[in-house]
């Protein structure tokens, strides 16, 4: 039980590659912090530095008030769950879970008690004599968890522990890990590239890109108040629509459309006024776009006419893609699948009863109160 503090942590590899830049993180006791970012953002490197598997080039790392920069992994009192579980193939499940206790010379009967308790919590009682090779993916994942919790460490480190599971099991284990962490109350740092995992599991989420920390906040705050274009696009699925636009008085000019900005936005974002007559980036989340026919009170709603290009009917909602005549903005996410360019479609999340279909012409209602604005130069959110 301890807090983990990263103070201006840097990682420079011998070949000169600067993987982590001045990473500051203050992870409090019992907190579940998720490190999220696209591939190559340095999140795993950061985790491995906390574990002691990578050397810290400069900066200070503290676990529970103890400076651990030069402390060996085995003496850091941390447990780690690896992406491929890293179970010892020649040991039974029982020995895998108990390996750390054996090394720590915990008395046999106490160790046995702890191993069986961990196995009970993870529903592995029946598998204790088996070898990892005889287990299913989900069971292996659980053994990896068991190996971590049996030690009662001061922190858990998890490196994409669910990425090798199938989708259904992943959702189940997601909830299970979150519950377990809450019950045990152990400080946890969890690395993932999956923003859904990040949003659902973390007390707070730290978003990394190219070795720079973008934003650390609660999931809801990240979603509602992204500090820059990258975070805005990375958090939320489908991604936020990001377009170049111009501010003209109380209106934002988006392609050939002029959308009035409500007074509430100018109040919340005082700095927005200074962009009058200048270019900026407009961000609209897909759920803030709706088929006008499904808006209960269409009076005075801001709309854009559009021809639907194609739809994805998911049952609970309809994802509609339609062209929008305004240049799309590259958020800088290397994993983004969609090609950025003139043809990038705008995406709306419509009510499932919408009658929008491919090639139909519709009116798209925009919830202007929730629109985001970013500086086109710095990509930072425009607040005050």
């Amino acid at each position: 039980m301890a807090e983990v503090v990263l103070d201006k942590i840097n990682k420079v590899y011998p070949n000169g590659f600067h993987a982590i830049h001045d990473l500051d993180l203050d992870i409090s006791d019992k907190e579940f912090l998720v490190l999220v970012g696209p591939s190559g953002c340095g999140k795993s490197t950061a985790l491995r530095m906390i574990a002691g598997l990578e050397e810290i080039s400069y900066g200070e790392m503290k676990i529970g008030d103890r400076l651990v920069n030069d402390v060996e992994p085995k003496d850091r009192d941390i447990a780690m769950v690896f992406q491929n579980y890293a179970l010892y193939p020649h040991m039974s499940v029982y020995d895998n879970i108990g390996f750390a206790l054996k090394l720590a010379r915990v008395p046999k009967n106490e160790a046995d008690q702890r191993i069986r308790e961990a196995a009970r919590v993870l529903e592995l009682d029946a598998q204790l004599e088996k070898k990892p090779g005889q287990l299913s993916g989900g069971q292996r994942q659980r053994v990896a968890m068991g190996r971590a919790i049996v030690r009662q460490p001061s922190a858990f480190l998890m490196d994409e522990p669910l990425s090798n599971l199938d989708a259904k099991l992943r959702v189940q284990m997601r909830a299970e890990i979150a519950r377990l962490q809450h019950d045990l109350g152990v400080t946890t740092v969890y690395v993932t590239h999956d923003q859904v995992e990040a949003m659902t599991m973390g007390d707070r989420v730290a978003v990394l890109k190219d070795g720079y920390l973008q934003q650390v906040d609660t999931p809801q705050n990240l979603y509602d108040r992204p500090s820059n274009v990258f975070v805005a696009a990375f958090i939320g699925s489908p991604s936020m629509n990001l377009r170049e636009a111009t501010l003209d008085g109380d209106e934002v000019v988006l392609g050939q459309f002029r959308l009035p900005i409500p007074a509430s936005i100018f109040e919340a974002r005082p700095a927005l006024r200074s962009f009058d007559g200048k270019r900026l980036i407009v961000g609209i989340r897909p759920e803030d776009l709706e088929d006008l026919e499904r808006v209960p009170d269409p009076e005075g709603v801001v709309t854009i006419p559009a021809t639907v290009s194609h739809i994805e009917a998911l049952g609970s909602e309809i994802i509609a893609h339609f062209p929008l005549d305004a240049p799309a903005v590259d958020s800088g996410d290397p994993d983004a699948v969609e090609e950025i360019g003139e043809d990038t479609m705008a995406v709306g999340r419509f009510d499932p009863r919408s009658r929008a279909r491919a090639r139909t012409e519709i009116q798209v209602a925009v919830t202007m109160e929730n629109v985001h604005f970013f500086d086109p130069e710095s990509h930072l959110a425009i607040w005050d």
């Binding site: 574990a51 002691g52 598997l53 060996e72 992994p73 085995k74 850091r76 941390i78 447990a79 780690m80 690896f82 992406q83 491929n84 890293a86 179970l87 010892y88 193939p89 020649h90 040991m91 390996f99 750390a100 090394l103 720590a104 090779g133 190996r147 030690r151």
Partner: protein, 385 residues
């Protein structure tokens, strides 16, 4: 259509028979060439005859060939027969299989392909084995060969020595190889470092033994020591040791040669196995609190157990059969006798055919359990994959 088909089959059958005939004839000619000291020159002379160069043919028959070109001709002939001949044989056999009724055709084909290999194995491996066993109970004292050799002092000494060799040489090579492989894994110029350990493997056992015999040389005290080991011993003020004559130092000195030769092999195989252990496994162990020594003994060694068994059994077989080292250095004198050297002595020195054969059978029986372990290990590895 049907008639055409039948004719095609007859033609193919003819070609297949012709191919087998050609290869058979070539093989017969080869046998005659190889068993005849002038074979090469007569072969070339025959070729001259065919193309009408009678003068050259006669000249060759009269004067013969130089030994080097003669050997080269035989070598070329053997290569040609081995590569083209086997190709023709397999093609011909395949054509014959095509004539087999379709019901059995595909179940027959694999055995036909394996037939040449089995034939050679039978000829050069199975037949000698059976013949040796047969001689061991029929020649000399017949069935009493075995009780006789088991009661022989030299054979008993050889058996004990072979046991020492088996344990110390195998254990030493594998242990050294394992430790070196692990240590070199962290060395910057790993490939270069490993090359030095690996190099002795390229030496023949005889060559290595000659080198070591010089290193082990002994001169009476007071004379200059020309063997490097005794030069060092006298250099620190001790009496020179007759290394190859003193029991039991001599056996261990010979074992050292084997270890020097085999460590490189063990190291290369085990080094590859160590690199195959996933890094995550080692990291997990470190985080679980293992020291580097514990990571090695509790994670790496168990993980590469199959490789260790393979290397151990391979070296064990080589060690059980050891002959050259003993033959070159001591010739089995001073209680350094081993089974293979004993067999050689009985066979070629004393011409005791039956006794030599029964010693060979004894050696074969000693190697069997090691081979069985190796096979079991292979099967287990395959089951794991």
């Amino acid at each position: 259509m049907n008639g055409n088909d039948t004719r095609n089959r007859v033609v193919r059958f003819g070609w297949a028979l012709a191919g087998l005939f050609v290869v058979g004839a070539a093989a017969m000619v080869s046998l005659r060439v190889l068993t005849d000291s002038d074979g090469a020159s007569r072969l070339i002379a025959g070729a001259y005859d065919i193309i009408g160069m009678d003068g050259s043919a006669d000249a060759l028959r009269d004067r013969g060939m130089q030994p080097v070109p003669s050997v080269l001709v035989i070598l070329g002939w053997a290569l040609l027969l081995g590569t083209v001949g086997i190709w023709i044989v397999l093609w011909a056999l395949n054509s014959l299989v095509d004539l087999v009724p379709s019901r059995w055709r595909e179940s027959v084909r694999p055995y036909v392909y394996l037939a040449p290999a089995y034939l050679l194995l039978t000829l050069f491996l199975l037949y000698p084995l059976v013949a040796t066993i047969y001689y061991s109970v029929t020649e000399d004292q017949g069935l009493s060969n075995f009780p006789d050799i088991l009661g022989d002092d030299d054979v008993q000494r050889a058996l004990i020595n072979n046991l020492i060799w088996l344990v110390v040489a195998t254990g030493g090579s594998v242990l050294l190889g394992l430790v070196i492989a692990q240590l070199f894994d962290r060395v910057k110029r790993e490939a270069l470092a490993k090359t030095f350990v690996f190099l002795p493997l390229a030496l023949s056992m005889v060559g290595a033994s000659v080198i070591f015999r010089f290193m082990y040389l002994w001169r009476p005290e007071g004379q200059p020591q020309i063997g490097v080991v005794n030069a060092l011993v006298t250099g620190v003020g001790k009496e020179p040791i007759p290394i190859l004559q003193d029991v039991p130092i001599n056996t261990f000195a010979l074992i050292a040669i084997m270890v020097w030769l085999q460590t490189g092999f063990a190291m290369v195989v085990l080094s590859a196995a160590i690199k195959g252990v996933p890094d995550e496994l080692l990291e997990a162990a470190r985080i679980d609190g293992a020291s580097e020594l514990q990571v090695f003994t509790r994670i790496i060694v168990p993980s590469i157990r199959p490789s260790i068994i393979t290397v151990s059994t391979t070296i064990a077989v080589a060690v059980l059969k050891v002959f050259d080292i003993v033959f070159v250095t001591t010739g089995g004198k001073f209680d350094t006798e081993v089974i293979a050297n004993r067999m050689f002595a009985e066979m070629f020195k004393f011409r005791n055919f039956g006794r030599a054969s029964s010693i060979a059978v004894l050696l074969f029986l000693m190697v069997l359990p090691v081979m069985w372990m190796n096979l079991r290990n292979f099967r287990r590895q395959e089951a794991m994959q």
